[in-house]
Every structure is written in structure tokens, then in C-alpha cells.
């Protein structure tokens, strides 16, 4: 096992609101090795962003957090309590979704980069500015010396996201968390930004967590992919294994929602029926049960523990897909025409 950079054990994050406590993250455990790129995939409300924000200590004051997180040997939650400076932004940084709002509209782009350099590294204005220009060049911004003095509203969406990335990488962090970095950008720019992130990551030997709701974005880039649902980690595996031989019915359902090159054209994509899980006081059952084609009575009695091969392919399901138990459960439901929770199902075309 190469050196573990980040470990997250039994992470719980709750938000008291006027309508009850929201269990945003429900016992998540995962690890990340130095230089590794982990993709976290899930619908909105699955807790992926909350997890990222917990790492970055960006949760609002009202949040209640349990479990422990260590990063390069340091207990992250202790660092947060001591309000230690020069941790976030230097060791660990984050990039957000919408470049249009991630930059302060009334400050020049250069300033927003140099302020971190001046603060964390104590650079003088001159050196900070030169570094900023270099950074902009590295992230592929044309005419960086001119752009550095421009205001955000004078740049396009793609350029702005590059400035944000430059800002994040200014102090050579060892972990970059990218929360849906390309969602707000059009597809053509999306690919170039992701390639940029890959290139930068490799050059700097930086580990990265890419958070997205789009499996396609994760494929081909991340070493491992973790799938979250209802605040829980339901499956994690090396990318190709996940795509080829997924175990958790939700992952399988997710895979069916993305168009595949090898599928005939006009294949109908199947939306996942039912509504997203209830996060307020969730029941002691598998969160996906209501929408799962394989659902059996035992799915409703307890929360499925994380099984499978530790460190290789983990998943939390009593009747995992692509296994004999799973096929047996599915055939029973198909025969009955519905699952234990009453979900109407019939044989889907092209089941792999």
C-alpha cells in the first residue's frame, strides 16, 4: 500500500433545520493515496459536496460533524478547531462549480491570485505578480500579462475557470478538490479543462478528488470512482471495474442513464424511477430500496454494510448486481412484476 494521504472514517454531518435534522453525510469511509485521483459520483443531495466541504472546513457553524479525518498525518478537524492558518489553500484547496461567481467581480484577477501568494508564502507584490502571470500561462490563459490586470467580467466562462484553477494551485497544494468544475461550462471547453486538470495533476504529483454527477466525466480520468447515494458510500472500485462489473444496483442504474457509443442509436435511456431519498431522519434500511429493481425484504430491515474486497472493490448491498444472489432476486421480482417495495418493473432491453 503506497503512503495514504487522506483517510476519512465514519464521517457523519447533520444540519438542524426548522423541519428536523438533515443527515447530509451518513457514515462515509474512504481513503486516498498520494497522487491518486478519486472521482465521487452521485445525484445532488447525495452528500458529495457536503463531504468535500467538510474536508475544506467550509460548513456553516450550525453543522454537527462526527468521525475523523486525517490528511498527511494531521487530524483535519483539530486543525479546524485551532483555526490554524496556512493549512487550507496551501496543503488542500478546492475549486467550485460556477466560474461566473467564483471570482470577486470588483477585484482584478491578478489580485485574487497574488493575495494567496502574499499571505501564505509571504511573497512581495512583484514576485507574486510574476508568479501569477506564470500560473495563468500554465493554465492555458492567452496573453497572461494582459489578463492579469483585467476584471472577471472581461473574461469568458472558460477563461475564468482557468483563473480559478490558477488561484487554487498558486501555493502548490498536495490535494485539489474539484466540485463539479465543468458543469457550468459548455461541453467543448469541458474537455479541455479536464485535460488541463489531468496535466497539472500529473506534473505536480498532486492528488485530486473530482466531484461530479456525470459518470462520463469520471471515466477515463479517475483512478478510482466512488458512488454516493443518500449520504452513504454505496460502491467504490477502480474506474474500469466499476463500469464493466458494477455491483450496486444504483451504480448499474446510473450506468444505464448515460449514452454508450457501443449501443445502437435511439436506444431509450432509462431514467431512475422514484424520488431522491429522504435525508431527514432516514429509516434503517437501504436508501435505494424504494427505487431498486433487486429490492428484497431484507433490504428494508437494515442498512447494508460495506462488503466486497477492501481496498479493491467495495459495495454495500445485500443482493449485488452481476452476482448469483442478485440475479436470483431480480428474476423473482421480474416474475412478480414488482419489487418488495411495490416498484413496477419489466425486463429491460439490452441488460448487460
Amino acid at each position: 500500500m503506497s503512503d495514504l494521504q487522506l483517510t476519512v472514517e465514519d464521517l457523519y454531518v447533520r444540519f438542524p433545520t426548522s423541519r428536523g435534522t438533515v443527515e447530509a453525510v451518513n457514515g462515509v469511509t474512504f481513503t486516498l493515496e498520494k497522487g491518486q485521483m478519486l472521482g465521487i459520483v452521485g445525484e445532488s443531495g447525495s452528500g458529495k459536496s457536503v463531504t468535500a466541504k467538510t474536508l475544506m472546513n467550509l460548513l456553516p457553524r450550525t453543522a454537527e460533524v462526527d468521525g475523523n479525518i486525517t490528511f498527511e498525518g494531521e487530524d483535519v478537524r483539530a486543525v479546524a478547531k485551532e483555526r490554524r492558518k496556512h493549512f487550507w489553500g496551501v496543503k488542500m484547496t478546492m475549486v467550485f462549480q460556477d466560474p461566473m461567481t467564483s471570482l470577486n467581480p470588483v477585484k482584478r484577477c491578478g489580485e485574487q491570485i497574488t493575495e494567496t501568494l502574499r499571505y501564505h508564502l509571504g511573497d512581495t507584490n512583484a514576485t507574486a505578480k510574476n508568479k501569477a502571470v506564470d500560473l495563468l500561462e500554465q493554465v492555458g490563459v492567452p496573453e497572461p500579462s494582459k489578463r492579469v490586470d483585467q476584471y472577471p467580467h472581461e473574461l469568458s466562462g472558460g477563461l475564468r475557470q482557468r483563473v480559478v484553477i490558477a488561484m487554487a494551485l498558486a501555493c502548490e497544494p498536495s490535494l485539489l478538490i474539484a466540485d463539479e468544475p465543468t458543469t457550468a461550462v459548455d461541453v467543448t471547453v469541458q474537455k479541455r479543462l479536464l485535460d488541463l486538470l489531468d496535466g497539472l495533476r500529473r506534473d505536480r504529483g498532486m492528488s485530486m478528488i473530482l466531484i461530479t454527477h456525470d459518470l462520463g466525466v469520471a471515466r477515463g480520468r479517475c483512478d478510482d470512482v466512488a458512488v454516493m447515494y443518500g449520504g452513504r458510500l454505496v460502491e467504490r472500485a477502480p474506474t474500469e471495474t466499476l463500469f464493466a462489473d458494477s455491483r450496486h444496483p444504483y451504480t448499474e442504474a446510473l450506468l444505464r442513464t448515460i449514452p454508450r457509443i457501443d449501443q445502437p442509436i435511439h436506444t431509450r435511456l432509462e431514467p431512475i424511477a422514484g424520488r431522491p431519498p429522504e435525508l431527514i431522519d432516514p429509516a434503517e434500511e437501504c436508501a435505494f430500496a424504494l427505487r431498486c429493481r433487486y429490492a428484497q425484504p431484507d433490504c428494508l430491515e437494515a442498512i447494508p454494510p460495506v462488503g466486497g474486497v477492501k481496498g479493491q472493490h467495495e459495495f454495500a448491498c445485500f443482493h449485488p448486481a452481476n452476482t448469483a444472489r442478485g440475479r436470483q432476486a431480480l428474476d423473482a421480482n421480474l416474475a412478480a412484476g414488482q419489487t418488495v417495495t411495490g416498484l413496477q418493473i419489466q425486463a429491460a432491453a439490452g441488460m448487460n
Binding site: 433545520t17 447530509a24 443531495g45 459536496s49 460548513l59 456553516p60 435525508l279
Partner: protein, 297 residues
């Protein structure tokens, strides 16, 4: 009153699935009803003053002069031995009267101007906005001075003066509110189906503008009551034997009276403070309830 708790995007992340709106659900709140009941109480007391079991406010030497609070007279007596409590109740008649009448004029004229400017836009808006800006740049108290110093200072002239002073800020807000609604679909739709402007304004715009204007009336009334006090300090409040909070405060704040028996000034000050605070609070809650930008004021 403390506004919404700042939620970060993480809560929104959750919120967009569940309609959890972390700001307190929009209710007028307990404080609002206290404010309204105080306003009601003081107005009724003012209206029924002649019937109330209180002393005659103009009776000289009703008690020993400059007698403190809780002496023979409940709230003490002023320099001429008149009952301070009775004068405060009777003073409410003029202060609230001037406040209400004044702001009514301001709302009617200012509102009409503002709605016209907001709805018709174009030249009408230009002209009205120019007029309003000129009126705004005219020092309001000098305007009030001009009118009260030259005409007789009867109850009506003072109320009219405060009304005129209120026209500019009120029309500014009315215009802002109207613009806000004028671009809404339901107004465009009405225009499209060829409704006459007058009908649109009355049927569509007015109901929407009325509530924020209601908020402004309350806020404006508070300001008019204070303005009457300012006029009193310049010696230009309602003339003759009429009693008003402003005049009582001036009478009580002579240097020596202030040092020796400050209750004469502080009882009306407290009454004015409570009433203006109640009006501001009620107006604020209504404004917040209808969420009109405060800057338009």
C-alpha cells in the same frame, strides 16, 4: 428583525431538493402585533381624551409647579403646574393627527406621481423624476419653514407642510415598486390583451403597490411625527394653545427645567419614541413581508 441566518451553498445544495427554507417562514411575528396594539392604544387614548378621567391639560396650577413623577399628579406637573400626563395624551391628538394627515397627503400625491412615473416610463418618468429630485434636493425643513413661517400655523397648514415634505421620498418608492411589478408577466399580459392603462393600474398594479405603500405610510407617519417635533424646536409648530408632543418637549427642555425636573421633557419624548418605534417596527415588518428594497426610500 434579525433577518435571515446566512446559509452557505451547502445548505442550498440540500435545500433545492427539499423546500427547507432556512429563513423563518414569513410571518409578521409577535413584535408586530405589540407594535400595532401600542399604536391602537395611543390613538384611542388620543381620540377619547375628552372622556378619559384625566386632568384638564390647560388648567394652570392643577398641581404644585414642577412637581416630580408619582407626586400628586401621576406623571408630575410642568413649569405652570399643568398635568404632564394629560398634556401627553392631548398632545397625541395633534402629533398623531399631523402625522397621519401629513403622510396621507404625501402618499396620495407622492404615490400617484410615483405610480405614473413607474408605469408610463418615457417622458413622464423623466419629468416626474426630475421634479422629485429637485424637491429632494430642496432642504425639506427649509421648505417646511417657508410654509409655516408665512402662513398661519393652524393644524391643517402644519399637516399640509409635512405632507408636501413627504411627497418626494414616497414617490421615489412608489416608482421603484411600480417598476418592479410593471415588468411582471401579469401586467404585460394585461397590456397585450389591450386593457386600457387606467384599468391596468387600478386592477393590476394598485393592489400590489398598496401593501408596500402601506408599509411606507407607517414609516412615513413616524417621520412626520418627528418632523412636527423639529418644527416645534424652531418655534413653528401648531400655534396658540394647541398641545403637541413637540411643543411639550420644547417647554420641558429649557436649560434649568432640564436639569431640575427633566420628567416634563422626558414623558413626551418617551411617548414619541415608543410610538415612532412601533410605527417603524410595524412598517419594517410589512416591508420585509413584501420584500421591497429599502434603498428606494
Amino acid at each position: 428583525m434579525t433577518g435571515s441566518v446566512p446559509s452557505t451553498t451547502v445548505v442550498d445544495d440540500i435545500a433545492d431538493d427539499h423546500e427547507v427554507d432556512d429563513t423563518s417562514i414569513k410571518r409578521l411575528g409577535f413584535g408586530f402585533w405589540i407594535a400595532i396594539s401600542w399604536i391602537g392604544l395611543i390613538s384611542i387614548a388620543a381620540l377619547l381624551a375628552p372622556l378619559l378621567p384625566i386632568a384638564d391639560p390647560n388648567e394652570i396650577a392643577n398641581g404644585a409647579p414642577r412637581d416630580g413623577i408619582l407626586g400628586d399628579n401621576f406623571m408630575g406637573t410642568d413649569a405652570l403646574g399643568r398635568d404632564v400626563f394629560a398634556r401627553t395624551i392631548w398632545g397625541a391628538r395633534i402629533s398623531l393627527g399631523v402625522g397621519f394627515l401629513g403622510i396621507l397627503l404625501g402618499v396620495v400625491v407622492g404615490g400617484a406621481l410615483g405610480i405614473a412615473a413607474g408605469y408610463f416610463k418615457g417622458l413622464a418618468d423623466q419629468v416626474i423624476s426630475f421634479l422629485v429630485f429637485s424637491l429632494l434636493s430642496f432642504p425639506s425643513l427649509v421648505l417646511a419653514l417657508l410654509i409655516t413661517a408665512s402662513l398661519n400655523r393652524s393644524f391643517l397648514t402644519v399637516a399640509m407642510t409635512l405632507g408636501i415634505v413627504g411627497i418626494a421620498p414616497i414617490s421615489r418608492l412608489a416608482r421603484a415598486t411600480t417598476i418592479q411589478f410593471a415588468d411582471r408577466e401579469f401586467v404585460q399580459a394585461a397590456r397585450v390583451i389591450g386593457a386600457k392603462s387606467r384599468r391596468i393600474i387600478i386592477k393590476e398594479l394598485l393592489p400590489n403597490v398598496l401593501v408596500p405603500m402601506g408599509a411606507l405610510t407607517l414609516l412615513g407617519m413616524g417621520i412626520s411625527i418627528v418632523a412636527e417635533g423639529s418644527l416645534a424646536f424652531l418655534g413653528l409648530s401648531v400655534e396658540g394653545e394647541a398641545i403637541s408632543w413637540g411643543k411639550s418637549i420644547v417647554d420641558g427642555s429649557q436649560t434649568r427645567d432640564l436639569n431640575q425636573n427633566s420628567h416634563v421633557a422626558f414623558v413626551p419624548i418617551f411617548a414619541m419614541f415608543l410610538t415612532v418605534m412601533a410605527l417603524n417596527f410595524a412598517g419594517d415588518r410589512i416591508r420585509e413581508y413584501t420584500d421591497v428594497r429599502e434603498t428606494a426610500f
